[in-house]
Symmetry: C2
Subunit: 201 residues, 2 copies
DNA sequence: CGTTTTACTATACAACCGTTCAACAGTGAG
DNA sequence: CTCACTGTTGAACGGTTGTATAGTAAAACG
């Protein structure tokens, strides 16, 4: 009598599979940068065979765009807290940082993606769309906060300064984590923001 | 009678050849990021055969480290102006920006290198060495400037803010050049620096 | 001029790349 | 249970990767 053999593979819904492949890809990007983003690595990380990427995404490049959208999506969701006007600069900074100053792994993923945006037209389109939303939300929060304090500022300029500062701090921490802690990064942001808003009065 | 045939290749000094290979590599990085950094691309760009990289650098990875050192060298040379104490914030910002806010091509090269630093130990060592020098020089310039104005600041903190801000503006401009001009970047730096220094009084 | 040195070319190589495709098998419908 | 559907596998593909190496030839030296 034949024993019932264990299934050779798991058969799951396309959406769920896509999510898993994206997750595995992020792990690969974190570990080896864009050069670690290979079909072999990803499928090994996801525990699937090599054919699945083409089947679910069409191409590796399309998968990359999906990854970018997924990651930016998390950031944008996180920024939804900014709908409520922050009462202090501390609160504002805390809201913007949120989970975005994540683990070193995530920073590496961003760095790898950024390096690709510059040379990959498909990613460029995806980026502009998301970045515009990102800046707009931060600008609006700054604008609301400043109005509450009776300060007049060009919120667009301040948002650019703040975003650039955060990105720069990210970069620094990403490249050499011994130089900068999360607390110090937040502190530098608070001080800069306070100074810029005061100067604008 | 046989005509004297033209030489099949140019035979030049190792140092000069290395410099040319580095230059060609930078062009490749600018065009295609780290994925464009291949032996085939580089040698085609440099007009040599594929064997030369191994011959002059030992490996492709060693070439990458040499590129990083060469580029950072240019930045550090540019910062030597900071030996003379700047008289105004305008002057300070102008000195720091210098040629560093170069062409978009150079920004792409930086981005490609940064993405590699995080996952390439050899580059990490090279980076820490250079970055420490970089930050120290800027901190010293800020310190001297502040002293001249009778302001007391933690120049290390202000240097970190300024460097992060510049890097973030770089990043922004690099990824989407339509968002930011050099003049606006300088202006944002001036305003932030002025505000931070004033707040410290 | 002939000799020596070594920068340089060109080929070969094994490993890996992304994509294609035919066959397989898990799963739900009937 | 049987069937149809399709998520999944795994081999095969042509092309590219970085490096090793044998041989070529340019230039310096005596």
């Amino acid at each position: 009598m034949a024993k019932k053999t264990a299934p050779k593979f798991e058969r799951i819904a396309p959406d769920e599979r896509r999510a898993r492949l994206i997750e595995a890809s992020i792990a690969c990007l974190a570990k080896g940068g864009i050069q670690g983003f290979t079909v072999d690595n990803i499928c090994h990380e996801a525990g699937t065979s090599r054919g699945l990427i083409t089947h679910h995404f069409g191409s590796k490049n399309a998968l990359l765009a999906a990854i970018y959208a997924a990651i930016y999506g998390k950031v944008l969701v996180n920024l939804e807290k900014l709908e409520t006007t922050p009462g202090s600069i501390d609160e504002l900074v805390e809201m913007i940082f949120g989970d975005s100053f994540l683990s070193r792994d995530y920073l590496n993923v961003w760095l790898a993606l950024w390096g690709e945006i510059a040379v990959n037209p498909a990613l460029q389109v995806e980026h502009r769309k998301n970045y515009a939303l990102y800046r707009e939300r931060i600008a609006r929060a700054i604008s609301a906060f400043a109005r509450g304090k009776g300060v007049t500022v060009d919120s667009y300029d301040v948002a650019t300064i703040l975003i650039s500062l955060i990105d720069g701090l990210w970069l620094e921490q990403c490249i050499d984590q011994s130089l900068l802690s999360l607390d110090r990064a937040k502190d530098l942001c608070r001080r800069t923001l306070a100074a810029v808003l005061t100067a604008a009065t």
